[in-house]
Symmetry: C2
Subunit: 364 residues, 2 copies
């Protein structure tokens, strides 16, 4: 190759894009140019990446010229429209929006679990799962490799930043309204206090939990719940895995938590599962509740790994494990997984080679 | 009978006792004397019940003389010591502390589900389940009666008032600390801000979720999780029911929520389940998420029923249902269930007669 690859970050000014730039600045620098792309109204702004100021370019067809890899940190409708454009201009797109979940010819990749899926990307697009799936999938993948996953029942405790900056701003504004009051003790008092200021949520989230994140799909399921099922099946290569998910919004700023009931093909030994999780790349086992050791969002936020605690075998099923898992939904749950995929694409150093269907860049 | 029964309320000044007095004041008045009992330091205080001021009596053996029924709204160690005393003095004790969960000769009763269990109470003590179990058990009992429960996977979203007044005070104090700040975005920032002021919780609860409520039991389970399993089995009369529970504390003042994955003996039809829940006593079905209808703690707090929403059949198992359920942990989850048991004991009007092993009071 003649030089380091050029990386474009699309949606560089958004909640996920901001974290992408921070992560790119923290990790080993393998990139040539890092080009920042955002909507026309953000063009000309300067953002810091790798310690240098970089001017934001407006999203356009030409913006992708010469880019080897394009990280998309944008809403689904923007990704659906622009990822094919970037791919046509020669960039390999890494998209975290979920826009391509239903496409069999767009691989869905978690570098710790299925890096081999990167090999085939006929449309020049690679997808990264949503944040709820990414909260558990690295730990789950490690256990599946040993025991063979047979069934999954999952409940989520999802942070406000999963709904972007508007989610965080809404939670903070509601917290300011309820702090110092006696709200939360009479039916409807929170809703009256908050009024229409529910932001991206259907109900108040401060001092509340909201068991719904639309849009709705058939038979009472939400799109997000079905996405967790589809993503888990796709990443683990288990097309018929039974997965039951309930997604619930909680008043946490950043870091999703999940309770996981995982049933396996064969009997599990807790000590064996513990050993697997303690040594799995990208996983931290934090599990001694009697000594105060279990993960919570407040301790996990801002960190990269999947944190697993409360690991125990089901009392009534020797083939099932229960655990609680936390992960920063903006880092591993979004920006970090995309950056890891880009690193894999950029060269063999980052993991399994991704093929060599494009000259000039190692691994691309 | 010569008169209306005398009711003693033990722990009348506490979080649960306060709600007991409120509920006794709201419901049909079937009681003669209502006697208020609390620790010596609260003796002499006057509290309002049924619109009248009543002076608090200090807890003592004599305090139970002439009481027909004694509602215990006190911690487990107080109940363990004093319930047998009250029973020896002739009162039927209704205890919500969990102190007698392991006792086969103390029936565990939910009036909508197993009122018949009241018939046999050889020790003169009747127990009421804990708040997490009571959040789901009325809905679950109705579904079990039709479909036959075979397995349960439950995750809780538990309110601060489950830890009493100290829990609520701690949550409110932490909210005041974090409101108007950028806390919740850096690892450990909440813990540093909160310092040692975690009250009854092992970690900060504001802007956090805490997957642990001790004390610890064997193999990584908490006492609360095992209690949900034992209580569910005992109330439903399913001694070997597989139950997997994870209890998680969330920053809500009052009203627990649970996600429930319930597998039945036979195939379930969602329409049939909907009909059962819509007509079951003590249950409100609130389930049209596309129209914004699902229960949240903010709407349910202060109400009596079990609110069920997000009802759907598991996509991969025609015999399993998923649902989300909310219930006020101080009302049905504690005080109300005890009052309902007392009403059943006091006479046939309140439900199934409880036997007539004691003269002078109908049903006792």
């Amino acid at each position: 190759m003649t030089g380091r690859p050029t990386l474009a970050v699309v949606g560089a000014t958004g909640a996920v894009g901001t974290v992408m730039l921070r992560i790119l600045s923290e990790r080993a620098d393998i990139w040539g140019e890092i080009r920042l792309i955002a909507s026309a109204r953000s063009a000309g702004r300067k953002l810091t990446v790798r310690g240098a100021q970089v001017e934001v370019t407006a999203l356009s067809e030409d913006a992708f010229d010469g880019a080897d890899i394009a990280l998309f940190g944008v809403p689904g409708e923007v990704a659906a429209a622009w990822a094919p454009v970037a791919a046509a201009r020669g960039a390999v797109v890494v998209d975290g929006s979920g826009a391509f979940l239903a496409d069999a010819d767009v691989p869905l990749v978690v570098p710790e679990v299925n890096p081999h899926a990167l090999r085939s990307r006929p449309r020049g697009i690679v997808a990264s799962p949503g944040s709820a799936t990414l909260t558990m999938i690295v730990a789950l993948g490690a256990l599946h490799a040993e025991y063979g996953l047979r069934e999954l029942v999952v409940s989520s405790y999802e942070a406000a930043s999963g709904a972007g900056r508007a989610g965080v701003d809404t939670l903070r504004a509601q917290l300011a309204l309820v702090a110092g009051t006696e709200l939360g003790t009479q039916p409807g008092d929170l809703r009256r206090a908050v009024g229409d200021a529910t932001g991206p949520f259907p109900e108040p989230v401060a001092l509340n939990v909201v068991p719904w994140a639309g849009p709705p799909r058939a038979d009472g399921w939400s799109a997000r719940e079905l996405a967790v099922r589809e993503e888990t099946r796709k990443v683990l290569g288990l097309a018929a895995l039974p997965v039951a998910v309930t997604c619930v919004q909680v008043p946490v700023v950043t870091t999703h938590s999940l309770t996981v009931h995982a049933r396996f093909q064969r009997e599990v030994a807790v000590d064996g599962a513990r050993e697997i999780l303690a040594t799995a790349p990208g996983v931290v086992l934090c599990d001694d509740p009697a000594a105060g050791e279990f993960p919570t969002p407040a301790d996990v936020v801002g960190t990269d790994p999947t944190w697993v605690g409360r690991l125990r075998r089901a009392l009534d099923d020797p083939a099932a494990l229960e655990f609680f898992v936390c992960g920063d939904n903006l880092r591993k749950g979004a920006a970090l997984n995309c950056v890891q995929i880009a690193e894999l694409l950029a060269g063999p150093a980052g993991g399994e080679p991704a093929g060599a269907d494009r000259p000039g860049v190692t691994g691309l």
